[in-house]
């Protein structure tokens, strides 16, 4: 049996976050919801696994779209810290800026920000993708293990500190690199990946062949799981 899809509008101020999230979770796949009267509320649209589309009309607080594994989210406003934290899949498109720790620990999914992102963007990435049209703040991609961070503008201090296998591309200037981060030449695979991201994000001010690639110098880490078993 297939449930009928729905299209609903939810007033966050009136309903409260818990009820809004409950209503979102109950929607059948293919449904859409618009959230209004946001007033900076935290924890909106978190932990959802249904394939729905959510439009957020306004600026939010912490952890918008965190832990999600299914929905696509469009934000007409600026989310607070921890946008899409631990995202598993789906797309979050922000028409605005994002605060610190955007996409922190994301395992998958795509986050697109039309403005700037603050500090620690893509921190501890585990496979997610974050594309930013503008600038990113300090300590971005800190300890990022896997995934891609694309910055159309400039990157703040200590970019890519303690990077593992994640890769960062910067269209503008890098203020400084963090420990164990280095610039590398672009490969054809890099250019293809950036081209795909430019197409998905619509950030055509980014020239896929003219960005700075930052990756791990691999002097600080190894994943030698057997090292304690050798003698």
């Amino acid at each position: 049996m297939t449930a009928t899809t729905e299209s609903i509008t939810l007033d966050v101020h009136e309903m409260g976050v818990t009820e809004v999230n409950r209503a979102l979770r109950a929607l059948p796949d293919g449904s859409s919801a618009t959230l209004t009267q946001i007033r900076g509320a935290h924890n909106l649209a978190v932990g959802l696994t249904n394939k729905i589309h959510i439009t957020v009309e306004g600026s939010t607080g912490y952890y918008l779209g965190g832990l999600c594994d299914g929905p696509d989210i469009t934000v007409n406003g600026s989310p607070g810290p921890g946008l899409g934290e631990n995202l598993m899949s789906g797309t979050i498109r922000v028409n605005g800026n994002s605060s610190s720790a955007a996409g922190a620990t994301a395992h998958g999914g795509l986050i697109i920000v039309s403005g700037d992102v603050s500090s620690r963007a893509a921190i501890s990435f585990k496979g997610g993708t974050l594309a930013v049209a503008g600038d990113c703040g300090h300590m971005s991609a800190f300890m990022a293990q896997a995934g891609t961070l694309l910055i159309g503008g400039n990157a703040g201090e200590s970019l890519g500190d303690s990077l593992y296998e994640a890769v960062v591309y910067v269209g503008g200037k890098v203020r400084s690199l963090g420990a164990d981060a280095r610039t590398e030449d672009l490969t054809e695979a890099d250019v293809a990946k950036i081209r795909d991201l430019v197409e998905k994000s619509g950030f055509d001010h980014i020239n896929p062949e003219n960005v700075t690639k930052v990756a791990s110098a691999k002097q600080l880490y190894n994943f030698d799981a057997l090292k304690n078993q050798r003698y």
């Binding site: 007033r39 509320a41 600026s59 607080g61 912490y62 605060s99 610190s100 603050s118 500090s119 300590m139």
Partner: protein, 298 residues
Amino acid sequence: MCGIVGILVRDPALEGEIGQYFSTMLEEMTARGPDSAGLAIYDRGVAADATRYSLRTDNPHANWDAVKSEVEAATGASASIEINGHVAFLTTSAPVAAVHAALAASGEQIIVVGEGHAMSLIKDVGLPGDICDRYDVSKVTGYMALGHTRMATESAVTIDGAHPFSPRPDLALVHNGSFSNHATIRRQLADAGINCITENDTEVCAQYIGWRMAEGDTLEDAMRHVLKEFDGFFTLVVSTQNAFSVVRDAFACKPMVVAETDQYVAVASEYHALAGLPGIENARVFEPQPEEIHTWTV
């Protein structure tokens, strides 16, 4: 965790409504600081030659009218007193030292939490909403207000441990974070003859700024010295009669959002504290970068 809110009004029409906006902002920060709250309000109600003293005592039955009479008798100058909940505001043009001496002699164990030409300072323990009700914060008027909601980490939940701290006339400081070398700086201040009255780390920073400014630093210079000398996590907002300044430490882990319009400049630890301000949807909203000092003047 603690909550910070502040607003500087640019449109005089908002001065009469500042309490209504500000009390909402403070209450929105309850989750960040439910154990105490405090606020410094700045208005133009004090005559140029007078000083207003924000007073409190642990005695709930303090006879404030008697205190006023004692100050008048001791200084020979007239005074007025306005009682609000557990605090009282004494205004007089008597010399400051003479007022302090008279208050100390009053027998009511009075603590001067702040003084100046523009500032009224209130702090108390309890939920921010209860404190707003207790002191009718929604009805206050003025051109600037700075507030704090506390979740104590470094020292006990007491009224004296609540923010703001005021180390010099018309200066109020609030802090979100924790200083790790406050004991060292407390000893250095003591050597310079400046003694803190609490075990609170923020008080050390406030006294340090007060000391730097007494030594001739501008507010911004004093903030730069804080960046150099203090170790720990901090977002600080400091207000004076004519300005307020914001600074975050090098890591900028403690949040701060600024919203600027033609009508006001407002700051808060989290955006939702600003969401009820008029015209917020068209405000310029940004986060101060690490070690950047932002100052707005009245």
